[in-house]
């Protein structure tokens, strides 16, 4: 109870509220501009969080991502270009409504369903996370090793179509985490004589390089097409309550499916939206209306992607296993702030956990007035030329990498990581497992070596405790299942 009061105290400080409002505004604008994603926004926000206390730092990420995922719907509805990948599933549907002269209905439903979805996901988070954490409090180094491996495994195998490429990404990240002084032995590894590299590859320049540089390259290599004309539109609240009531079952189903998919490690808001749209069509009484400007799928998928965002935090804070790319970054930020995510965080800083819950609710309530305001000015945001956006993003990347250690070396590191990230994207190697490997690598190695040393080098020590053995079995099953399905696909392909 004291922790809850403390959490309210943290969140309702003027400074924190100001940060939330600012991050929300930024998230709305970034989401509404096609080409700038919620993940990129989070990556560029991280350097700022470095200068904040833990609660405003996490609050800013929560607010920015919630707004960006919703705001991605705005250009999808107005010009048929999804602002973030999470809106791609129903961009066509929302745009058809605009073409039929009812843009406010699509926009309003996206806003209403997003807010409801976000709040539903948060409620699940509030009830599920502490219950799971209680179970996880008796864990020791072998369990943490397996949890780490499980998180890395899920990220590698579920985040892309090809498990081998996911594995490759993971190995890149784990290797990067080895650079610098080894904490267990004090020996410097792979620093090539550079004093800067002795401290290791810093998380922030790597993050900015991996997530922002490939997007920036995309932004400057595609010519701006002629802007589509945006028809005048009225208030998004018009018809909203009627539509929400009519499609209440779909919104609820979108909430449930979205939260579950979000909580699944490796799958995030974009996958949730695609699946919910498909589910909605399957159960619809009028599936033939889908794709013609029908609001049913929009309601379900629009609720789904925002609830997935909150769902992804369940495994993140309970086990330190991220649900999606954004929470992979969150884990890095928590570690930077000296808080290792995992069940212990519920005992050590329960106020932080409650604060996260409160911020989630607050952000999703804020989404309605802010969403209304952004929808009003959307035509001006969409008119900002790509050249101006690119210039600002580039300087933000440079200064963000520099600001962490006041080091120009980090700017060079960001460029190197950007080149690596770009190469990986070109080869369809997912970036998120690499970031996760970099963040969790030291922890996994430390627990691995420590457990082995406890058992004098006997590898069976890793599965000597019952929960550790169960976790190991789960990991083995994920590996076996991945191998089996890859094998099955290949045979089906050959036949």
């Amino acid at each position: 109870m004291d922790a809850l009061l403390a959490a309210f105290g943290h969140v309702f400080e003027v400074h924190t509220l100001f940060v939330i409002l600012l991050a929300s505004g930024l998230g709305m604008v970034m989401g509404a501009i096609p080409g700038l994603t919620a993940v990129m926004g989070t990556a560029l926000l991280v350097p700022f969080t470095f200068f904040m206390d833990p609660v405003p730092a996490i609050a800013s990420i929560v607010a920015l991502t919630a707004m960006a995922i919703f705001a991605g719907d705005i250009p999808a509805a107005l010009v048929r270009i999804p602002g973030t990948p999470a809106s791609a599933a129903y961009a066509d549907e929302a745009y058809k409504l605009t073409q039929q002269g009812q843009p406010w209905r699509g926009l309003g439903m996206c806003m209403g369903a997003s807010a409801i979805g976000g709040i539903f996901g948060t409620i699940v988070l509030i009830f599920a996370a502490p219950a799971l954490a209680r179970f996880a409090t008796s864990f020791s180094s072998p369990e943490y090793f397996w949890l780490g491996i499980m998180g890395l495994t899920c990220a590698a195998f579920l985040s892309s179509g090809s498990p081998l490429r996911g594995m490759l990404a993971l190995l890149v990240g784990l290797f990067l985490s080895c650079v610098g002084i080894d904490i267990a032995t004090g020996i410097t590894r792979f620093a090539f004589g550079s004093t800067e590299l002795m401290g290791g590859v810093d998380f922030v320049p790597a993050l900015v390089g991996f997530f922002a540089i490939p997007e920036l390259i995309r932004l400057v290599t595609v010519r701006e097409t002629k802007k589509a004309t945006i028809p005048p539109y009225g208030s998004p609240f018009r018809d909203l309550l009627r539509d929400l009531w009519q499609w209440r079952v779909q919104v609820l189903r979108g909430n449930i499916v979205g939260t579950l998919i979000g909580a699944l490690p490796g799958a995030g808001a974009d996958i949730a939206a695609w699946i919910s749209y498909a589910v909605s069509r399957k159960f619809s009484r009028t599936p033939e209306k889908f794709g013609t400007g029908h609001i049913e799928g929009l309601a379900e998928a629009g609720a789904s992607n925002n609830s997935a965002l909150a769902g992804a935090w369940v495994p993140t804070i309970v086990f330190g296993i991220p649900g999606d790319s954004i929470t992979a970054i969150v884990i890095g930020v928590l570690i930077l702030k000296g808080m290792e995510p995992g069940p212990a965080i519920f005992v050590k800083s329960p106020d932080l956990i409650y604060a996260i819950f409160i911020v989630f609710i607050l952000a999703n309530i804020l989404m309605v007035p802010l969403g209304w305001a952004v929808i009003r000015v959307a035509r001006y945001i969409l008119a900002v030329p790509r050249g101006v956006i690119s210039a600002f993003i580039l300087v933000a990347c440079i200064i963000g990498s520099y600001a962490i250690n006041n080091s120009l070396f980090d700017v060079g590191m960001m460029l190197a990581m950007g080149a690596l990230g770009w190469f990986m994207e070109e080869n369809e190697i997912p970036v998120a497992p690499a970031i996760l490997g970099l963040v969790l690598g030291k922890m996994v190695e430390f627990n691995f070596i420590q457990t082995l040393m406890k058992g004098q080098g006997d590898p069976l020590t890793l599965i000597s405790r019952p929960i550790a053995a169960v976790l190991a079995l789960a990991v083995a099953m994920i590996w076996a299942w991945t191998a089996w399905s890859a094998w099955g696909r290949r045979r089906a392909h050959a036949a």
Partner: protein, 155 residues
């Protein structure tokens, strides 16, 4: 720059081998059986195994060119844009200490905008105002000492 599966696999085997070899050469710690090289050596081995599987996958996939370059490498406009982007970051990392953040940021923002077809006057105005904004935010609000460079003593 897309490699086909076989080429990516060979590259992975090579890099994994290098990593394993370099890890095994790391010094051990007296009285401790697992040295600093143990974990990275495992990573190197895992990379080699992944590489072998990629090569095997590549053998089945026929007709993929060894290396496919992105479209913008051929087009002059987009290629120059990427070059400007990379040069901006590299030159900043190398010379920002001497030149300073403000002149550098104005130059970068101006260059990118002009390349992307923004009218010069507008681009100049946005570059100057944007740079002042960044400077105020980082130098004044967040207290990050940005390199002053040639403007030392002025800002």
């Amino acid at each position: 720059m897309r490699l086909n599966d076989s080429a990516l696999g060979v590259l992975t085997i090579g890099l994994g081998g290098l990593l394993a070899a370099a890890s095994l050469r790391l010094p051990g710690v007296p009285g401790q059986e697992l040295g600093a090289g143990f974990f990275p050596a495992l990573l190197g081995l895992a990379a080699m195994l992944t590489g072998v599987l990629l090569v095997l996958a590549g053998i089945r996939q026929s007709g993929e060119p060894l290396l496919r370059l992105p479209d913008w490498v051929r087009g002059g406009w987009a290629r120059t844009n990427v070059l400007v982007l990379v040069l901006a970051i590299a030159l900043f990392a190398a010379f920002a200490e001497r030149v300073g953040f403000i002149p550098f940021a104005i130059a970068i923002m101006l260059a990118v905008q002009l390349r992307m077809g923004i009218a010069p006057l507008r681009a100049g105005l946005i570059a100057v105002l944007g740079t002042i904004g960044f400077h105020l935010l980082f130098n004044e609000v967040l207290r990050v000492p940005l390199p002053a460079g040639v403007l030392e003593g002025w800002v």
